[in-house]
Every structure is written in C-alpha cells, then in structure tokens.
C-alpha cells in the first residue's frame, strides 16, 4: 500500500517539476511502451500490459505496428479492451539517435538491472581470455628456453672439441720441446750460424749487431766494406747504412764515424743499437728512437 502512495507522490512531484497540466497528465498516464506479438490462436497482433491486460492494434492508428516491434503507444480504452495507437517505434534507429548522456543513463539502468547476471559472465570471459594469453606466453617462453638450452649444448660440445684439440697441440709441443732440450744437451757447443743475403755482392748480414761505442762512432763486425753511404731521416728516427764503392763514409777497423750523431741521438754509454737488413735500402736500418737500456753493460 505504501508503494502506491509513493508512486502517486512521485507522479505529483513530476507534474509539479515539469509544469504539466492535469489534462496532459491524464493523457501521459495512457502512454505505454508495448512489445507486440502474434497470438497463438487466430494470428492476431497484440500486446500485454504489465498488469496482464490485452492490447490490440488500433485500426485507424496511422502508423502500422508489426508483430515483434516495440512501440511507445497511446492507449484507448473500450470497455475491458485497450487499443494502441503507435507514437514512436523503439528500434535501432531510435537508440542511435539518442544523445550521449541519454545513452549513459540507459546503460546505467541496464547495468543496474542486470548486474547480477552480467558480472559473472564478464568475469568468466575475462578469465578465459587471460588463461589463453597466459598459455600462449608460457608456450613461447618454453620454446625460447628449449632453443637457449640447445645453443648451450652446442657451445658446450664446441668447447669440448677445442679443449681436446688444444690438449693435443700442447702435448705435441711439450714432446717437441723435450726432444729439442735433449738434442741441445747432446749437441756440442757451436757458434750460431748467421744468415747472409744470398747472391748479394756485399754478403750482408740479415741481423747485424751494430754497437755504438762513442757519441759519433758505430762499430760492427759486419762493417766489412771500405765505403758506406749513411742517411738520416728528417724526424731523426732512422739511419740507413749502405755499402757502396763511392760512399762518403770511410770504414776503418769495422768502425764508422758519423759527424753529429751525438747531437742527434744522446749517447749513454756503449750499447747495441736495434738494426736490421732492409732490401728496400740495400743496407742496414738502425732505429735511433728505440735504443734499449744499457744498464747491463
């Protein structure tokens, strides 16, 4: 009973708020939203009111109502029977034409009315989707892990092969070294052979031993010729000593004197100088910038 009182109270407030006249309110009360269907007996198109009353289509209603459609209708009462005049068809077009705020209100109402049904369904959907994604990721990770493990196995095999090879090489070298040591112990002590440039008219040593014996003087047992040409690079890093019949440097007792050598390269006592034979210059190349320590002399 209290619900009825509330409903009438609500109607009164609605009427007051929107300034609706009593006549309009009476007409508004006759407006219903109805879904039409075809009856089982006789194929008549009809709808039912919430209270169970039957509503038929009004023949002169203007707009044609088909079974399966939902309409906002104005009801005309003829005794115990109601007839509906279609005012507005509630179809997809109607909903698309709604404003965003109206759609929000509708969505809220639908959600509130159906929350208990929709929530478990959504939860189920999300759970399934998440499970699918997790499974995919898991399989992908597993695949990667398998690949990485395969690569590790390959590398392990490769390392083992290299280790085996190295072991064989080390063993062979150790054996060779032992043999060499043994043969060296057995062999008589002899002067090491020095290589000559074959065919050279000057029989030049490939690894000469050139010693600086004074600031301007170089000594070498390989200075066996009478005359030499000696050239210096402008950056004072290299000296070339080339035997030549018309060379301006005269060699006496395996010694050559180079005027100003002491100024170019500081003299720190007698020392061997790094030198080598260079066919490009046809003589010895002495490196002035790389004089080794003389402490052992």
């Amino acid at each position: 009973m209290s619900d009825q009182i509330d409903f009438f109270e609500l109607q009164r407030r609605f009427q007051e708020e929107h300034g609706i006249t009593d006549a309009d309110m009476d007409r508004l009360k006759k407006v219903q939203v109805l879904s039409f269907f075809t009856s089982d007996e006789g194929g008549t198109v009809m709808a039912r009111l919430p209270g169970g009353g039957v509503v038929f289509r009004h023949k002169d209603g203007g707009m044609h109502i088909n079974p399966g459609e939902t309409w906002v209708c104005e009801l005309l009462e003829r005794g115990t029977t109601f007839f509906a005049i279609g005012m507005l068809k509630l179809d997809a077009k109607f909903f698309f034409d709604l404003r965003a705020d109206q759609v929000d209100v509708l969505a809220d109402i639908i959600w509130k009315d159906n929350q208990s049904i929709l929530e478990p369904r959504f939860e189920e959907m999300y759970r399934k989707k998440l499970e699918e994604m997790l499974n995919e990721r898991l399989q992908e990770s597993k695949k990667r892990e398998d690949e990485a493990l395969a690569t590790v196995d390959e590398l392990k095999t490769e390392i083992e092969a290299i280790k085996t090879r190295n072991k064989m090489v080390v063993t062979a070298l150790e054996k060779e070294l032992a043999e060499l040591k043994e043969s060296a112990l057995r062999a008589p002590l002899a002067e090491p052979e020095r290589s000559n440039v074959s065919g050279s008219p000057f029989s030049i040593e490939l690894n000469p031993r050139i010693r600086r014996v004074s600031p301007d003087e170089l000594y070498s047992e390989d200075f066996r010729h009478r005359n030499y040409f000696v050239h210096l690079s402008a950056d004072q890093s290299v000296l070339t000593i080339r035997p030549h019949d018309r060379g301006n440097i005269v060699c006496l007792d395996n010694r050559i004197t180079l005027s100003g050598l002491g100024l170019i390269s500081p003299y720190g006592g007698p020392a061997d100088m790094p030198a080598e034979y260079n066919p490009k210059y046809g003589g010895y190349v002495v490196y002035l910038k790389y004089i080794p320590s003389t402490s052992h002399y």
């Binding site: 301007d216 050239h231 402008a234 440097i249 005027s259």
Partner: protein, 182 residues
C-alpha cells in the same frame, strides 16, 4: 695498405719543385745535412720504372753569379732534367713561372701518356688543379713533401702521400770530407 698497391710495371715520372724542397730541408735544420736527391728519387720510385725526373727552378742570367748553378749541374748529372726559368723576382725574393711550368709539364706528359704515375715533390697547394687534371686523364698522382711545407688539401688531392720526414734522405758525413756523388 692502399687499395692500389705499387706495380713494378708502372712508369713513374718525378716532378720536383726544387726551391720548395730546399726551403723545407733548410727549415728542418738537422745539422745542415744535405738532401740526397738520388736517394729521394730511388726511394720514391721503388721497384717501379723511373722514366723521367724533372727539377723545376729559376736561374740567373748567364754571366751573373748563381749559387744554384752547381746544384743544377749535379742534378743534371744524376739524371734530372732541369727546367730553370730566368724569372727570379729580386725585389720580392720569389720565383716566377716555375709553378706553371711544372703544372704544364705534368699535365702535358699525362695527355701524351708518358707515364702511369706522377710523383710531385712539393707541398704547394697551387698544384691541386694540375693534380686533378692529371687524375682526370686516368693517371695516378703521388705527392711527396715535408710536413712543414704541406697542407691537408693537397694531401687529400693526391692518390698517395709520401712523408719525406720518415724517409732516410739526409746524407751524413764523417766530418773528413768524402765523395758525395754516387
């Protein structure tokens, strides 16, 4: 190692700006040691065929004193062709016509296919257009110079650059006086 390595069959021709090189050596001033032009030519040519050596300089008129005349004779004796222009500007102490003479000679020999590789012994960037013309004719150009007389531009223009500092070219003596000519 350069992409184009030395080829023993290459014909090499040397073009030397004499005063440019002498000034560089003088500036280095290492004990006043003389530059061995014979070694210079031999080391630059290497194992390649040396088909010509030109030295470009100015000279004073005959009958007047010229301190480079002896050097010219010495170079001539070594096999250099001396192209000496009588165009020295006494007031400004600079030589005239020499650069152009060298450039003309280098380019004309290139067009006559007299050589495969031209070695320019000078660091003067005035020669860059001549180098480019020689290169355009399909020849290679190498530049040899001391660091104190060469710019980056000419180094980049050349197909190869020889750093003369690093080459043993300064002839040493024993201080007793000896034969300098080979």
């Amino acid at each position: 190692m350069p992409l184009l390595s030395e080829n023993s069959n290459d014909r090499v021709m040397l073009f030397m700006d004499l005063q440019n090189i002498l000034r560089s050596v003088e500036a280095i001033g290492t004990l006043k040691l003389g530059l061995d032009f014979y070694s210079l030519a031999a080391q630059l040519a290497g194992t390649r065929q040396l088909v010509g050596m030109y030295a470009f300089d100015t000279r004073r008129p005959l009958g007047t004193e010229d301190r480079f005349r002896k050097l010219h004779d010495k170079l001539r004796y070594m096999g250099f062709r001396i192209v000496a222009r009588e165009a020295y500007d006494e007031n400004r102490h600079e030589q005239k016509e020499v650069d152009v003479a060298l450039a003309c000679e280098m380019v004309s020999h290139a067009f006559r296919d007299s050589y495969d590789v031209a070695i320019l012994i000078s660091g003067d960037r005035d020669f860059i257009p001549a180098i480019q013309h020689v290169q355009a004719s399909g020849k290679r150009v190498e530049v040899a110079a001391f660091a104190n007389s060469v710019g980056e531009e000419i180094k980049r223009s050349a197909d190869r650059f020889h750093e003369l500092e690093r080459m043993p070219l300064l002839q040493m003596s024993c201080g007793l006086g000896g034969v300098n000519d080979e």
